[in-house]
Symmetry: C2
Subunit: 193 residues, 2 copies
């Protein structure tokens, strides 16, 4: 949250910000903010506040942005194509290395400069090149099996868009992005109006 | 979370589940589960557990799934097209009513059976038809202004995919889906390995 917000501030040309301003923008108490940023290493100066760019970079380092990461995308439907086309990976040091799909009509097509590979090439690709993160944009009916396989083959983390629990060991990094959950929260919010 | 999980169980043909099984699957304590479900109205039976389909339907009602909702999509890039093509809206009682874009090359094209309208048609459309939810899949540089406008015109809630705070009043329902935040969490998880 800090990283995103400070990045937007930096893009907008803001050079410094006080903990009070941060607290208003992020709707947290100023003391919580000071405590968080102290935990990150304490970058504030009394009477000056925080240098936006420096704080952004420091938090980025904590998040691992100084390490390049490879990303593969499994599933080249609309969502997979959206993920492949994301412009912001560079800033976060992620590179899309390959895109895979099972559909013969999509295999061989070019998406943002990369030729879509068949799912039958996935095993060899991962075993040869590894992959820090695999984005899983496949139907939930096949997601659990694919997840188990790519982990065995050497993928280090999964960014999961299939609306199902992947049933992987707890220590394996998975981030579930379950879009319809947030839509349901809106449905609930609208109920009382 | 309960709704998604129970829906998957129902799809898989599971008829009933105990609070202990739920607790293992959802990684919560059985007593927390019993307490939550009691708050929903208490659907369990001693020695039987929960009827999956019934519990799923009851939680759906609480979430507002029994009320039809209209959805418009603003931004018909890859992400907007992915959102337009989502197959699961019907089950959750959402209907995509219209898709808008600013790009002349996309306007007039058909996406999943709907012709993309121009952004200049948005105001009249919303004022005439209303919209329960607008999915905002536009660049962050224009998101804040579009959000303010569509709220004024009559959109009731925003499903925001632009990585920026929309600066709307707190009481207006907004769900932010900031995809890169979850990717950053993976980047952080990978750091210590």
């Amino acid at each position: 949250m800090y990283y995103r917000y400070l990045g937007n501030l930096a893009d907008a040309g803001v050079e410094r910000i006080s903990s009070r301003e941060l607290s208003e923008a992020l709707q947290m108490t100023a003391s919580q903010i000071r405590q968080d940023l102290n935990n990150f290493g304490g970058f504030g100066q009394q009477g000056y506040g925080y240098n936006v760019e420096k704080l952004h970079a420091e938090i980025g380092k904590i998040m691992g942005v100084d390490t390049p990461h490879s990303l593969i995308i499994i599933g080249a439907g609309h969502l997979g194509q959206a993920l492949a086309g994301y412009a912001s990976y560079g800033k976060r040091n992620f590179t899309v290395e390959a895109i895979f799909d099972v559909n013969p009509e999509i295999i061989g097509q070019e998406i943002d400069g990369r030729v879509v590979k068949g799912m039958d090439e996935l095993e060899a690709f991962v075993k040869e090149n590894g992959a820090d993160v695999a984005a899983l944009a496949v139907p939930k009916s096949v997601a659990v099996e694919i997840a188990r396989n790519i982990r065995d083959w050497g993928v280090r983390a999964i960014w999961n868009f299939a609306p199902i629990d992947l049933e992987l060991p707890k220590e394996f990094p998975v981030e579930n992005v379950w879009l319809l959950d947030s839509l349901m929260r809106l449905s609930y919010d609208l109920k009382d109006r």
